[in-house]
Amino acid sequence: MTAPRTRKAAIIGGNRIPFARSNSAYAQASNQDMLTSTLDGLVARFGLQGQQVGEVVAGAVLKHSRDFNLTRESVLGSRLSAATPAYDVQQACGTGLEAVVLVANKIALGQVDSGIAGGVDTTSDAPLAVNDDLRRVLVQVNAAKTLQQRLKALSGIRPGQLVPDIPRNAEPRTGLAMGEHAAITAAVWEIGREEQDELTVRSHHNLAAAYDRGFFDDLLTPYLGLTRDQNLRPDSSMEKLARLSPVFGRGEGATMTAGNSTPLTDGASVVLLGSDEWAAAHDLPVLAHLVDAQTAAVDYVHGGEGLLMAPAYALPVLLARNGLTLQDFDLYEIHEAFASTVLSTLKAWEDPAFCKEKLGLDGPLGPIDRSKLNVAGSSLAAGHPFAATGGRIVASLAKLLHQQGPGRRGLISICAAGGQGVVAILES
């Protein structure tokens, strides 16, 4: 038996809706509304109406229990053929990129010829759960067989149980908000306020410039009155950011503000992938190929590593497998969960001790050319609807590489809750 031949999956294009700040323009929209609209935008852009693609893979981080089949339900409500299979994935903020990797792998193996990957999240139409004590009582009431048993079970209800469980952006095992975790890491790596604010200003200016030159014209479909990301501040400046008070971390050393941290956001994104043959047969462009990807996880609970540092560990594995160095890239997309996360990751890769002791390398991975980093803006400016960020980055980077010409290489790094990270290589 011979090993199956593999092929690299082509990234054909993408679509997203502008990202909205929480409880604002998309307050009335559900995850299914946003994902369906985003799929329909992609269908319209690439002439897929009534057509079947191999698979649609997407997910949401904050998800109602009724949305167990969110992606399939969205496909059924979209203009894609109802015969298109779909499934949901969830890997916190890595969801969107992981979905792209999954679709690309099936294309690589020849199991599908085309697919759509993406993600959606709403922090406005968020699921509220029944208080867990009340839930137990109600489960008992439901299981009771006699009226007497039912009444006995109901007598367990207490007034305090009527307060619902509200989802928090916090780690279940540490009880700390993600920003608090990031503040610990920022302190460990001695990331200053000024460099965080500089990265933030650059993100806003790069995103605004990208909009102004029409970069997003074929990557984005307006939705519910928004034509640009609502969080974008084209006039962002060091002076304005300096006026903000820290919100994460404590005391003198606190550096993380609402400006250099991503806000809660609503939005959706999808990416169209296919084999080169499928793209050619449908007269569609190939912007780039997904070369390879790697995930990693760290023990942020007991192991002394930062919650959002897993991409630092995933990268050297990916580089070694592909015979590349950190400097062999034309563009870098490092997801800006917090400005300090990007800076901590870059500093770790430059640090000889970290690279030797933690990554097991002979020397540091070294610095990158900062002018190649997040050149069309990233999450600090656009916002970060958790599962939608991966699709936003993949489609944008594929287009940026395509614009530079063939043979250009880009690196994506996305950190995720639970101490996980996904990194990937695209090549035009």
Binding site: T36, R79, L80, A82, Y223
Partner: protein, 284 residues
């Protein structure tokens, strides 16, 4: 022809009350009046509520049935006026045809105009058609024709015979089953403004001769179309006949069959199999 332009939507509760108080002693031919509103914009929050109650997806174009919600108050204003020959309480919506000539954006200012025509003879009374036309950007984008039956009423001499039946081939397979809760009428009343008492509660429905509250026909129609989201032509005509009243609460089935680029539809009682709605969806 008289044309009356309103500055805002009339109060539906007041109109229904006025219609009830002035129900007696009506007669004569249809008034030659048109009621209009111009530059109407869709309220995003209201649309979102409507979308939720009817199970559409929230997007940047209006559900095919939504302009009816905008035009209906004007039609009620026309029907509650003393010049209208039939008494509004007791009128039964028996047929509705909407034509969307192109998808209508949620942000487009709309000009509405409604009038009545086609006073017709029906085997159990008389029918009248309430017509609506919606224009955007200088062209008609949507129109509808709602046929109402007044039991026991008499149409003028030489009136044509009413055409209230929409013919669909037999649809035997149920695509979906809906449990329609007893507050379905109140929920649709809240998002559509159609506060006709026959939909609101058992008690108010009894006052008008129904044994229980009945679902709004336009809600049943909207929900059936929502089930076909993503599968409707952009320019489309949806013609439905409302058959037996859908008493609340009920469990009903939706049957669909594709017909060229369109569909045939039936909504039936899950227990008795009685038809509530029969309709066709066709490209125009």
């Amino acid at each position: 022809m008289a044309r009356q332009e309103l500055d805002g939507p009339p109060s539906m509760a007041q109109l229904f009350a006025r219609a009830a108080l002035t129900a007696r002693g009506r007669g004569g031919d249809l008034p030659d009046t048109r009621i209009a509103r111009t530059g109407v914009t869709v309220e995003a929050a209201r649309l979102a509520e409507y979308v939720r109650v009817c199970r559409f997806a929230l997007g940047d174009t209006l559900p095919v049935t939504y302009p009816h919600v905008l035009a209906f108050p004007l039609q009620v204003a026309l029907m509650s006026d003393r010049a209208f020959p039939l008494a509004l309480p007791g009128l039964v919506h028996v047929r509705n045809r909407v034509e969307q000539l192109r998808p209508v954006g949620t942000a487009e200012p709309l000009d509405l105009e409604v009038w009545a025509d086609t006073f017709a003879t029906h085997r159990s009374g008389a029918t009248v058609d309430l017509v609506a036309s919606v224009r955007a950007g200088g062209a008609e984008v949507w129109r509808s024709r709602s046929t109402y039956l007044a039991r026991g009423a008499t149409a003028p001499q030489d009136a044509p015979t009413a055409e209230v039946d929409v013919h669909v081939p037999p649809l035997d397979t149920a695509a979906a089953q809906w449990r329609v809760p007893d507050d379905a009428g109140r929920r649709y009343a809240a998002v559509s403004g159609d506060v006709n008492p026959i939909h609101l509660s058992g008690l108010t429905a009894k006052a008008f001769g129904f044994k229980r509250a009945i679902a709004h026909g336009m809600w049943v129609k909207a929900r059936a179309l929502a089930a076909l989201s993503g599968r409707l032509p952009d320019a489309v005509a949806v013609d439905v006949g409302f058959k037996k009243p859908l008493f609340l609460p009920s469990t009903v089935t939706l049957s669909t069959a594709s017909h060229g680029a369109g569909w045939d539809l039936a909504v039936r009682n899950a227990a008795s199999g009685a038809d509530h709605l029969l309709g066709t969806v066709r490209p125009v």
